[in-house]
Point group: C2
Chain length 465, copies 2
C-alpha cells in the first residue's frame, strides 16, 4: 500500500527508528492520531517495534474529553497495546504562566510525554503531525516574524520526538481512514476560529490556495525544507565562530572575544549570543527581538564598562577582555554577616573562605599568595560581614597611610571590570578588612604587638566545565 511505503521510506531516509525501538504513540483520538496508531500497528513487524499508547487529557472540554480518553483506551485495547494517560490542568497553567490556552496545553503535553518516556523507558515518541500541520506551522511562524529557525517548521526528528507522517497530507490520512473504515473522535474545538491555528487552517489557507497558490501546502513544506537547510548552515557557521571566540566558559560566566565577534554578520552574532546564553542556561524567552537588538548595539559600541541586564539574573558587559556574560554580582555574592567563632569555613557564590585563629607563638612568615592573608584577630574581631564593592568604598591599602578609593585601587591595577564586582570584600565593624585576593587594610595587619593571628584563605570553587 502506497501510504505505508511512503511512511516507511520517510522513517528509513531520516533514521527515525531503529530495530527494536520502543515507541510511544501520542493518540488524542482524532483522525490523524487514529491513523498513526493503525499505521504503526501495521509497521510494527517491519521495524520490530515495541509500541504503547499515551493520551493526554488537558482538563478542558468537560465530558467530551473524558469520552476521548475512554475511546483511546478502548482503541489501544483493540490493538492489544498498553495504554497510558495523564490528566493535566492546562487552564490553570495558562493563567498562572500568562500563556495562551494552546501554548499552555502544548507545554504540559510535552512535559507529560517526557515523564512517560522516562518512567516507561521508551526511546521515542511519535506524533501524528502531517504536511498540512507543517504548512500551518510555517505560515504561523512567518506571520509572527520568524527567521529561518521558525520557518523550518517542525522537524521529522528532534531528540526523542519523531513525526513519521510529516510527508502525508491531511487528505492522505482522510482517505486512509476511510479505506480502513477507522473510527475516530471529532474535537469540536478544532473548529473554533478564536483559536489562531483553527483560523489558519479553516480560513487563511483555503483563501490563500484560492487566490495565490493552489499548491500552498506543498510550497510551505518545501519552504520548511529550504529553511531547515539554511538553519543548518547558520548553526554550523555560528558554532565554529562560537568555539573560536569564547575565551572563558564557566558555570556562571562566559567571555567572548569582541573584535572577532564584530567581524561576523549580524545574524551569526545573534546565534553566538544565543549559544552563550544557552550555555549559561538563560531562558531563550528572555531573549526577544528587542533585547537581542539592544545587546548587539551595545556590543557594537564597544564601550568598556558598559553593561546591560539580560534577565534578572544575568548581565552582559563590555570589558577589555571582551564581551562578558555572567551572573549578576548581587546574585553571585550575597551580602552576609557571620561570626568567625561559629565555624571555620564558608561557601558563597563560587567562592570558599576558610579561616583559623591561632595564638602568635613565633615570627610570622608572609607569603606572596594574595589568596592567603594573616591579620590581627584582636583588631578584626569575630563579627564580620561579606559583601561586594559599592561605588565610593574606601580602605587603607597595606603599608599606606591614607585612605584610597577601592575604585581607584582597581583602576590602578587594571583589574577587569567584570572581576571588580565579584571580588568579595570582608568588612568588620571597624572598616574594610580585606579586598579578598588583592590587598588587606593597613589597620588590621599583623604588628609587633599582635597577639592572636587570624589566617584567612579564599578560593574560587572550581566551576569550570
Amino acid at each position: 500500500m502506497a501510504l505505508l511505503e511512503k511512511v516507511t521510506r520517510l522513517i528509513r531516509d531520516n533514521q527515525l527508528i531503529t530495530d527494536r525501538d520502543k515507541v510511544l504513540l501520542a493518540v488524542s483520538g482524532g483522525l490523524d492520531s487514529v491513523a498513526l496508531l493503525r499505521i504503526f500497528s501495521q509497521l510494527k513487524g517491519r521495524f520490530n517495534l515495541e509500541l504503547a499508547v499515551v493520551h493526554i487529557h488537558h482538563g478542558i472540554r468537560g465530558s467530551a474529553a473524558d469520552e476521548d480518553l475512554d475511546f483511546v483506551k478502548c482503541l489501544s485495547h483493540d490493538y492489544n497495546l498498553l495504554f497510558y494517560a495523564k490528566k493535566v490542568n492546562s487552564k490553570a497553567f495558562a493563567k498562572s504562566q500568562k500563556l495562551s490556552p494552546e501554548e499552555s496545553a502544548r507545554i504540559l503535553r510535552y512535559q507529560a510525554f517526557e515523564e512517560f518516556l522516562q518512567k516507561l523507558k521508551f526511546s521515542k515518541l511519535a506524533t501524528a503531525h502531517t504536511a498540512s500541520d507543517q504548512a500551518e506551522t510555517v505560515l504561523d511562524h512567518f506571520l509572527r516574524g520568524s527567521g529561518s529557525l521558525g520557518l523550518r517548521g517542525m522537524q521529522k526528528k528532534r531528540g526523542i520526538y519523531i513525526r513519521p507522517l510529516l510527508e502525508l497530507t491531511r487528505e492522505d490520512l482522510e482517505q486512509y481512514v476511510k479505506e480502513n473504515k477507522l473510527i475516530f473522535r471529532h474535537d469540536s474545538s478544532n473548529e473554533d476560529l478564536k483559536f489562531r491555528r483553527n483560523r489558519i487552517r479553516h480560513e487563511l489557507i483555503p483563501y490563500l490556495k484560492e487566490h495565490f497558490n493552489p499548491n500552498l501546502v506543498e510550497t510551505l513544506n518545501r519552504t520548511a525544507c529550504i529553511f531547515s537547510e539554511t538553519e543548518s548552515v547558520l548553526e554550523a557557521v555560528s558554532e565554529k565562530a562560537y568555539r573560536s571566540l569564547v575565551s572563558l566558559q564557566k558555570k556562571n560566566e562566559i567571555i567572548v572575544e569582541i573584535d572577532g565577534f564584530l567581524g561576523y554578520f549580524r545574524v551569526v552574532q545573534k546565534y553566538i549570543l544565543f549559544r552563550a546564553c544557552q550555555a549559561l542556561e538563560i531562558n531563550r524567552n528572555d531573549l526577544n527581538f528587542d533585547k537581542v537588538d539592544k545587546l548587539l548595539s551595545i556590543i557594537a559600541q564597544k564601550k568598556v564598562g558598559k553593561r546591560i541586564d539580560i534577565n534578572q539574573d544575568f548581565q552582559l558587559s563590555i570589558d577589555h577582555d571582551g564581551i562578558i556574560i555572567k551572573r549578576k554580582a548581587s546574585e553571585q555574592i550575597p551580602q552576609m554577616k557571620f561570626d568567625l567563632l561559629d565555624s571555620n569555613a564558608l561557601k558563597f557564590g563560587g567562592y570558599e573562605l576558610k579561616w583559623s585563629i591561632t595564638k602568635r607563638e613565633e615570627a610570622v612568615e608572609f607569603n606572596k599568595n594574595r589568596q592567603i592573608e594573616l591579620l590581627d584577630f584582636d583588631k578584626t574581631g569575630s563579627n564580620l560581614r561579606l559583601r561586594t564593592f559599592h561605588p565610593g568604598d574606601r580602605f587603607i591599602p597595606l603599608n599606606f597611610k591614607g585612605q584610597k578609593k577601592i575604585a581607584d585601587y582597581f583602576s590602578d591595577r587594571k583589574i577587569p571590570h567584570h572581576l571588580r564586582e565579584v571580588t568579595p570584600i570582608l568588612e568588620s565593624p571597624a572598616g574594610i578588612v580585606w579586598l579578598c585576593g588583592h590587598c588587606i587594610d593597613n589597620r588590621f595587619k599583623v604588628r609587633e604587638e599582635t597577639n592572636r593571628l587570624l589566617k584567612l584563605e579564599i578560593k574560587e570553587s572550581s566551576n569550570e566545565f
Copy 2:
C-alpha cells in the same frame, strides 16, 4: 522635519548617495513618487545633488496614462528639473514573452531606466518603494515559496538602484503629502483585485493585520532584514566554497570538485550551482526548483558518465574530474563540411584548425606534439568533414592493423568523458582521418610513396577568463 531626517539617516547609514551624485527620480505621478520628488528636492542641497525626473509610459490605460505623463512633465517643470519619458509597449512584450502584465511592465521599466542612466550619465536611480511595498513583496515571495533570497525583499541599494523611502510606510507618505498639500494622480488599476499585488495590498494584508498581527508591516520588514543578513551569510559561505571547489573555469565550461561539493549543506550546494551557472551566463530562470533538485540528486549519485541538460545550450555531467558544466558538444562543434583548397584555416566552437599542403621535398620529421600532424594529402583528399564523436565510431590508430572503437581508444587512455565529446574528428570520404589532438588514422599516414603533404594544426582558442 522628522520624515526628512528619517530619509537622511537611511541614506547616510546605507551610503545610498554621495556628494555630487547625479540621481534620476522614477516618478509615476502617484502619491509615493510625488512624495519622493518633493523629498529629494528638499534634500538636494543637503547632499549637493544633481536631479532629474524619469517617467515610463507602459502603453496601457489609454488616455489616463497620457495624462500621467503630462502631469509628471509639468511637475518636473515646477520643481525646475529636467524631465525624461519613454513609452514602452508592455502588453505586446507580455504576450511575446509569455509574462504576466505586471512582470512585463517591470522588466521594460527597468530596461528603460538603465538606458536613461547610461545615456544621461546619471549615477543612481531612486524609486519610491516604501516599507508597505516591502511588506507586500516579502509576503508575495513567501507565498511563492521563496528561500532567504526572496524573503530579504527589496534592498535599499542594489547597484545603481536606491530606495531611500524603504523605512517609511505608505501612511507616513500620505501624511507628508497631506501636510505639504501635494497633488498626485490616482491610478485606478491599483484597485483592480485581478492583479496579485493589489489583492495582497487591499485584501490580504488588512485581513492578516486584523486576525493575526496588527504590526504585520513592521514584522515583514523585520523579516526582510533578518533574511538579508541570512542571505549574506549563505553567499559568503558559498562564495568561499565555490572558489575552493572550481578547478577549471573557461568561457564555456566549469569543473567543480565533486567530493568537496557533496561535503557542503544542500543549500550551499545550490548556491555553488547558481554561481557556476551565473559564470556561464546561464539564465537563472532555467534553474527552477525541480531542475536544481534533479541536478543535485544526479551529483549525489556520483555516477561517472551521467549527464543531464541544464537548458538547451548547457549540460551538467559527472566525470572523474568532478562536476562538469559546459556548453553542449553539438552547440560547441557543429558538424560541417569544408574544402581544404578553399582556405587555410577554420574556426569552430572554441577551436582553430590550420592547414597547409606542400610538395614533399625531403625526409619528413615527426614531432611529438599531437596538435600538429602530417598526413598524405593524396589519401585524404580536400573534401573533409568536421564532427564530434558518435558511439560506435571506429578508426585504425596510427601503426595499428585493425580497427578500434574510438570509445575504447578514449577509455584506454583515460580521456575524461567531458573531453571525449568535444574532441573534433576530421573525416574524409574514405574514413576517419584524425582524432584531433590524439591520433591519426593509419590509412592516411605519410609513407615512402607520399607525394603531397597535408600539415594540420589544431589549437584551442584561448577562452580562459
